[in-house]
């Protein structure tokens, strides 16, 4: 799975979660730039990614992700 595949999956998950088909994530997207992607939906997003890809993030990672690219990179590392 390439980073672009992971990014596309993230976009699909967040669109479903927020019922907003206009969202397109990029590697540089920050959570606060996406309307309604609040702390609760951040958890929902992480939980959905974990179920979809069978990975598990550490608390320290969840706290420190600065943008979507960082989540993609960590996910990619866990899938390798």
């Amino acid at each position: 799975m390439t980073d672009q595949d992971i990014l596309a999956l993230f976009t699909k998950i967040i669109r479903d979660l927020l019922s907003d088909e206009s969202i397109t994530l990029t590697m540089r997207t920050k959570r606060e730039e996406v309307p309604n992607w609040d702390s609760m939906n951040y958890i929902n997003f992480i939980a959905a990614v974990e179920i979809e890809l069978g990975v598990k993030f550490r608390v320290a990672d969840i706290e420190s992700f600065e943008d979507v690219g960082a989540i993609v990179a960590q996910t990619s590392a866990m899938l390798r």
């Binding site: 979660l17 927020l18 019922s19 088909e21 920050k30 606060e32 730039e33 309307p35 309604n36 609040d38 702390s39 609760m40 939906n41 951040y42 958890i43 929902n44 992480i46 939980a47 993030f57 550490r58 608390v59 969840i62 706290e63």
Partner: protein, 513 residues
């Protein structure tokens, strides 16, 4: 993808009571404005399941939910506040149609605090009562999926709000299949299948009364308590703030309550104000007076959005220090990135309310006032989700800077506080927060009360006080000189030219920047 609004409504207080009685979910987050104010929601929220059943009923009324429906999957992504409008939008996605609740801008519960305790939970929730009371309330949903299943869905609210996790819960999601069960017991069985410490999340299997599936809930934090008077007393000298009388606006809880304990532990007198939380304020006064003297802490009601003069005439004493912790719910659900009415609301509290309070205190006092204005590192970070709050606090900083310049007999001390653990910041998501006492005490001690502390009762030696004063004066001069240099070289960094750095003369050591 097209979207059609199928129905809309608002849930009022009567609806809250109706559904609590129907389902048995009397969790205070739905029923008690004072208790709800100390949750992440900040105000009473509609039972999520009530909204789901309303949506199901409307979908059934329009023929979109029929007896052929095999399951229901719901994710609660936002709070629905009482009296806010909810719209049921129907979206056509490819071949499939889905009903989406939009603008979800939208007895005593069990108290489980520990996930390990939650992990062992299982049992049955009776649906009889919900079935009786929901009769005729969701007629179309009853026809489509059966009254027994409607009642079973209703009691999922009771499961999370009253049983597991109970009092400190947030309903996250549920996914159920509609099944023909051979067991005719009118109850939904549940058992915890998974707990996740990272998110304080609980997953439960549910089965019975025609439904089978899973429920996801979160264990939210109980109201955040600050350090006790005893703990504060260990780090504050008994007469450190003697002779001062501090008005602590918004002092009934959080940082205001902590400040009240600090000043009182140091021998000062405090007047704590509350807008709605009388019980919290009285409990605080009881704690302080129990350790000091009966007049060390007084409580008055003061709403910064109302006329300051008429409310503050009840003070009957001169105030030497003002701590302005008045606040409202900061993290709001919004449509769009900027909501001008929200900015107005914040400006009223963080700008107008502060100025009015200072003006009235000055008018009624023979001495100059020292006021503390807690600003925020959000001004540095500028998160998009709270720009109205950040803008209002920035306006507040500008006001403070100009109050100092304009010689208003008020010396304002401003510091940008980092994220501290309070009711407002206690999110489910793990977040790093600083210890409030560690952050506030240096600000109070070194920047607000130091110059004031000149009476003989002060335990700080006179010589040390003299050196401190000289040190601060020199720091003022250095920063003033530095600013002139900055201006000379036209190096435009406005962050260095505003608020307390300029007017008080010491860097905010405790801002965490």
């Amino acid at each position: 993808m097209s979207s059609v609004t199928l129905a809309s409504r608002a849930f009022n207080q009567d609806d809250q009571i109706f559904f609590a009685r129907l389902s048995g979910d009397f969790n205070p987050i739905h029923m008690d404005p004072l208790a709800a104010r100390r949750t992440q929601a900040g105000a009473p929220v509609v039972h999520g399941i009530h909204a789901v059943l309303w949506a199901l009923d409307k979908l059934a009324e329009n023929g979109m939910v029929t007896g052929k429906v095999r399951g229901v999957k719901v994710q609660f992504t936002k709070f629905i506040y009482v009296a806010s409008t909810v719209m049921l939008n129907l979206r056509h996605r490819d071949e499939e149609s889905t009903g989406v609740l939009e603008r979800v801008v939208e007895r005593e519960p069990a108290i489980l605090i520990d996930l390990k305790e939650a992990a062992a939970q299982s049992g049955w929730i009776d649906v009889d009562r919900a079935r009786t009371r929901s009769e005729g309330q969701f007629p179309h949903a009853d026809s489509a999926i059966g009254a027994r299943r409607v009642a079973a869905i209703a009691v999922l609210s009771t499961l999370t709000g009253m049983v597991c996790p109970g009092m400190y819960s947030l309903f996250g999601a549920f996914a159920i299949d509609l099944v023909e069960d051979s067991n005719h017991k009118d109850a939904v069985g549940f058992s915890v299948s998974e707990t996740d410490e990272r998110f304080r999340m609980i997953r439960m299997n549910v089965s019975g009364a025609g439904i089978r599936g899973s429920v996801q809930a979160f264990l939210r934090w109980p109201p955040i308590g600050q350090a006790s008077f005893d703990e504060v007393s260990k780090v504050v000298a008994p007469a450190e703030f003697a002779g001062s009388t501090a008005l602590i606006v918004g002092g009934s809880r959080g940082l205001g309550a902590l400040t009240a304990k600090v000043i009182a532990a140091g021998g000062g007198k405090v007047i704590v104000t509350f807008a709605t939380g009388r019980k919290d304020a009285e409990k605080l006064a009881e704690e302080i007076c129990g350790h000091t003297t009966h007049d060390a802490c007084r409580v008055i009601q003061y709403d910064v959005r109302q006329d300051a003069a008429s409310q503050l005439k009840l003070l009957e004493t001169e105030v030497s220090h003002l701590y302005y912790f008045a606040t409202t719910s900061i993290f709001r659900q919004k449509d769009g990135f900027f909501v001008s009415s929200l900015l107005d609301e914040f400006i009223e509290i963080y700008v107008k309310g502060f100025y009015d309070c200072c003006r009235v205190l000055n008018k009624n006092s023979s001495q100059a006032l020292i006021a503390y204005y807690p600003s925020t590192v959000a001004i540095d970070n500028n998160p998009l989700s709270i720009i109205e709050y950040t803008m209002a606090k920035m306006a507040g900083e500008i006001l403070c800077a100009n109050m100092n310049r304009a010689n208003t007999r008020t010396r304002v001390v401003v510091s940008r506080l980092p994220r501290l653990m309070t009711d407002q910041t206690a999110t489910v998501v793990p977040a790093t927060t600083a210890e409030p006492l560690d952050v506030l005490l240096p600000v109070i001690r070194q920047r607000i009360h130091l110059r004031f502390c000149s009476s003989d009762s002060c335990r700080i030696p006179r010589t040390w006080r003299w050196f401190s004063s000289v040190g601060i004066a020199l720091a003022d001069l250095c920063i003033f000189a530095l600013l002139r240099v900055v201006e000379t070289f036209e190096c435009v960094d406005h962050r260095a030219v505003h608020s307390d750095q300029l007017f008080v003369g010491t860097r905010p050591a405790a801002t965490g920047r």
